[in-house]
């Protein structure tokens, strides 16, 4: 019905026809070559290192590695618990609190929490939870401890602290995705109906909305899981050192002067993909079983009496997600200005600007590099994604939307599994170690997030705006610039800000594509954090968090200012 109408009003050809193909060529191609570049050495083929025959020797060597069993255990524990924890926190947060007045305060906190890079939040969390951290100090004072307890509250061998860190960091992302999805299903009306039938607000949300929203949550959820399997920076800060999770272990092997270790490393990177596939398969099975089990009760309409529980749960999840995030940032700020700060004291005994004055000159260059790379990535991703979704909105949906779905693949494949081969491709193109390579590698991740954030608001835009403009004789580009962009300014700016944040947070990609020669805030901060010096890690974490936060602040403030100026204007 929309098609003939548009055909009637649209004059020219679709100027965005090439966009999806360009996006795929530029960003799925590295994925393909990267995966191949990992697959081949995993089966023994890497002529540069003397591997000229296919075989299973790399796997045999991998299986003989003493750390392997422990590493797989830690990886799976932290990945599964972290993802489930994030899901539970997000669902309970939204279900339990969405109808309460406090939600108006909490909801705006989600975006900044999403924007803060994982590494910065992990450093802050470590300051809170360590045996000598704030939590332990609160307990120590009344109990009269003068030494921290010998308890592995961070870097624990089981990986629980890592799981907690991942859960807290990913919960805002999933909550935002839930809220965005809820915007598309006429949530208020459905909730009103359910409430008129006697359900509490939380129960209504769980029973009526969640089953509808879940399919849209699946992609972000799987992305969270894939991310947590191959995360390195958070794992180094919060995870155990012996044995480490698989991803840092693979990185260690890749950095070993014994180059033959690259074969088992490639096999281990592929093992990550296998773990991911098996886990996701298991998850889908669980989904189906759960659906079969729950469907009768959902259909029958029996009311689960869990409203008070949901309220308490919502409050708890808000305290942990928002509260621990803010407290962590506060702890970072204090440590960055701390002089001597002995164990049970809650505040530093002496203050000093030494950490800042020492770190800032060192961070100046990387800060500038990070800013321009992030800005460039955000802009390129924005242009490409807008062209893609324009193309889709103009009716190109059918042939290309499957192709475009490929753009999400980088989020669903463990980074290490293709970065390894991607680095080989870059070296072949003589691009390794250049800032251009880093931009390209970052875009592989900035693009899907931009698409994720921009696609739905774009397609949800009432087509009549464009049609009116067409009827007035305006071309597609004019309509885009003069009509659509001003209306969609807020989501566009937020997508750009998240693009900046995603690029800023890239550690592994910068390391592989930049070859250590393109220092960014993320790589410098991890160097400081893994060195174990809390004060300089705090400075690094703060500077790292500041850039995305500024971007988010600008993105949310600008449309508001603009709206004020344009009040009363159409």
């Amino acid at each position: 019905m929309a098609r003939p109408l548009r055909a009637l009003t649209r004059g020219g050809r679709d100027p965005f026809l090439a966009a999806p193909w360009l996006a795929i060529a530029l960003f799925a191609a590295p994925l393909g070559t990267g995966l191949a570049g990992t697959l081949l050495p995993a089966f023994g083929w890497l002529p540069a290192l003397g591997g000229a025959a296919f075989g299973v020797a790399p796997w045999q060597r991998l299986l003989a590695m003493p750390e392997l069993a422990g590493a797989v255990r830690v990886t799976l524990t932290s990945g599964v618990l972290g993802t489930l924890g994030a899901l539970a926190l997000a669902v309970i947060f939204v279900a339990g609190l969405h109808a309460r007045p406090v939600f108006a305060w909490l909801r705006p906190c989600l975006l900044p929490l999403l924007a803060i890079p994982h590494l910065a939040l992990a450093i802050g969390l470590a300051f809170l939870l360590a045996p000598s951290g704030w939590v332990a100090r609160l307990v120590a004072l009344p109990l009269g401890w003068d030494r921290p307890p010998d308890l592995a509250t961070v870097n624990d061998p089981a990986g629980l602290a890592l799981a907690l860190g991942l859960a807290l960091k990913e919960a805002p992302f999933l909550a935002l995705m839930l809220l965005a999805a809820a915007g598309q299903v006429e949530a208020p009306r459905q909730l009103a109906v359910a409430r008129s039938l006697g359900y509490g607000p939380g129960e209504a949300w769980l029973k009526v909305l969640l089953p509808q929203l879940y399919p849209q949550l699946r992609l972000p959820l799987f992305a969270v899981f894939a991310y947590s399997l191959s995360v390195v920076d958070v794992a180094i800060v919060l995870g155990p050192a012996t044995p480490p999770p698989l991803a840092p272990l693979i990185l260690r092997w890749l950095n070993d002067p014994d180059l033959s270790l690259r074969f088992p490393a490639a096999a281990a990177a592929l093992l990550l993909v296998v773990l991911l596939a098996v886990s996701l398969g298991g998850w889908r099975g669980l989904e189906r079983a759960l659906a079969r089990w729950l469907r009768p009760s959902l259909g029958r309409g029996a009311a689960p009496r869990c409203e008070p529980l949901l309220r308490v749960g919502g409050a708890l999840s808000a305290v942990s997600v928002v509260g621990l995030g803010l407290l962590g940032m506060l702890a970072l700020s204090l440590w960055s200005f701390a002089g001597r700060w002995e164990f049970p004291a809650l505040l530093p005994e002496a203050w000093s600007t030494r950490s800042w004055s020492r770190a800032l000159p060192l961070l100046g260059g990387p800060l500038w590099t990070t800013v321009w790379i992030a800005a460039l990535c955000a802009v390129v991703a924005l242009v490409l994604v807008i062209a893609c979704v324009e193309h889709e909105a103009l009716g190109g949906r059918r042939p290309t939307h499957r192709v475009l779905a490929l753009a999400y693949l980088p989020l669903l494949v463990p980074q290490l599994a293709f970065l390894f081969g991607f680095a080989v491709l870059l070296a072949y193109l003589r691009l390794d170690g250049t800032a251009l390579a880093v931009v390209w590698a970052h875009l592989v991740f900035v693009l899907p997030y931009t698409l994720l954030l921009l696609r739905e608001p774009w397609l949800a835009l009432d087509p009549r705006f464009a049609r009116t403009a067409h009827a007035l004789g305006k071309g597609e580009l004019t309509v885009l610039v003069r009509v659509k962009l001003p209306i969609l300014l807020r989501p566009v700016l937020i997508a750009a800000a998240i693009g900046v944040s995603v690029s800023t947070a890239q550690f592994l990609t910068t390391l592989f594509a930049g070859g250590g020669r393109v220092p960014t805030l993320a790589t410098e901060t991890l160097a400081m954090a893994s060195a174990g010096d809390r004060r300089s890690a705090a400075v690094g974490g703060l500077v790292l968090a500041l850039l995305p936060l500024v971007a988010i602040a600008l993105a949310t403030a600008w449309p508001r200012l603009r709206a004020r100026r344009r009040q009363g204007l159409p």
């Binding site: 750390e67 921290p148 061998p157 002067p257 020492r358 250590g516 220092p519 060195a531 010096d533």
Partner: protein, 399 residues
């Protein structure tokens, strides 16, 4: 694998030659170095060291027009792996590393695989000031002759760190430390090898348990390694349950151990720089009652160096930087305990009067031992011992 090693070894003789030809007279280097960028790959885990390298960067920019970029490594092995990967990929020039901070098994690996530029060291004007007679390790890196392929940068000696207020009279042997740990559960640990502080701690255990320490001058014999190290594993297995976190996990690095010491989680820290504890006291991180000590048998001392990869993009500028690092001015600045506090490789008593003053004026930190208290100095075991120990450690403790 054997054939590959053999091929590389056979290739060694012919490929060193062009390198030797490239080492031009120093005066000519200055001109070609101007405007070059030196990517200095150096461990980046210490603020004090990073600050010093940044100072060096400003100096060489001002004096020689060289841009110095500090690529911060968490482990020097990363740089070795990178150069090796470039060689395997056929990149004979335009490599991504110009200067590496290096010693021990990493130097041995690079030298054996023919990954180094030079010899260039004796070509450096400031080489004349180096204390070759008094500090033989400037020519002998562990048990590997340097052959002019790496320029000495600083002297290191392993020390243990304690707080007088908590442990007034620390035990001065590994056996004593382990007995102390049994009496004070959870208060002792060391960084997990292959971190170099952790590995060096293991070497001290090896020195004390092997019976005949002269064996460590020879390469480890795979046939007797098991028996040679049996007492070491017995000692470690015995102390393990009394360690921090019941010996189930270890801190990742030396600085991480410092943080545990600062937080009061453990009662001992360790450093490969006798002045490091003083620096940390001055910064307000360690308590003023912090002191250092060495073992009765002595502790390991060595030299750390800078080397230039065979395919460096800017070998000329890298040599200028290596020479500047050896200058009395840069060496005195490096030894200042309010900064890095790393000991000089120069023969200070033979320096010209003006240069000597820079060293004489330096204060000795509150926690730093006097030179005569830092004896005896143990030599580094042959690098093969460490490789074998690290593998055995992984098998037993990294599960």
């Amino acid at each position: 694998m054997l054939t590959r090693r053999w091929l590389l070894g056979a290739g060694l003789a012919c490929v060193t030659l062009p390198g030797a030809l490239r080492a031009a007279p120093f005066s000519e280097l200055l001109a070609s170095a101007r405007g070059q960028t030196v990517y200095f790959n150096a461990w980046g885990g210490s603020d004090a060291i990073n600050g010093y390298i940044a100072w060096v960067g400003r100096q060489v920019a001002e004096r020689f027009g060289i841009t110095l970029v500090h690529v911060k490594l968490t482990d020097t092995a990363e740089a070795v792996a990178r150069v090796l990967a470039e060689k395997t990929a056929g990149r004979e020039e335009g490599g991504s590393i110009d200067l590496i901070w290096i010693n021990g098994e990493n130097f041995k690996a690079m030298k054996e695989q023919n990954l180094l530029f030079g010899p260039f060291v004796e070509n450096l004007p400031n080489w004349a000031h180096v204390d070759v007679a008094g500090k033989p390790t400037v020519l002998m890196d562990f048990t590997e002759p340097t052959d002019g392929l790496e320029a000495p940068w600083g002297m290191a000696q392993f020390v243990f760190i304690h707080d007088l207020a908590r442990v007034p009279d620390p035990p001065r042997s590994i056996a004593g430390l382990f007995r102390w740990a049994a009496a004070h559960p959870g208060r002792l640990t060391w960084p997990a090898p292959p971190d170099f502080i952790g590995s060096t701690f293991l070497k001290h255990v090896l020195y004390e348990t092997i019976g005949d320490p002269t064996r460590l001058r020879q390469p480890a014999d795979p046939a007797t390694f098991e028996a040679d190290t049996a007492p070491l594993w017995t000692a470690l297995d015995t102390v393990r349950p009394h360690l921090w976190r019941q010996g189930r996990t270890w801190p990742a690095s030396g600085p991480a151990l410092h943080q545990l010491f600062e937080d009061g989680e453990v009662d001992f820290s360790m450093a490969f720089n006798p002045a490091e504890a003083s620096t940390l006291v001055n910064e307000g991180r360690f308590p003023p009652t912090t002191r250092t000590f060495i073992l009765e048998q002595g502790t390991i001392g060595n030299t750390h160096f800078v080397a230039i990869p065979f395919n460096a993009s800017a070998p000329e500028a890298a040599q200028i930087v290596a020479d500047f690092l050896l200058s009395p001015e840069a060496q005195a600045k490096k030894q200042d305990p309010t900064g890095w506090g790393d000991l000089t490789v120069l023969a200070v008593d033979r320096l010209p009067e003006a240069d000597r003053e820079g060293f004489d004026a330096l204060p000795r930190g509150p926690a730093t031992l006097a030179p005569e208290q830092l004896r005896p100095v143990l030599l580094e075991p042959d690098a093969s011992w460490m490789t074998a120990l690290e593998t055995a450690w992984r098998d037993r403790y990294a599960r």
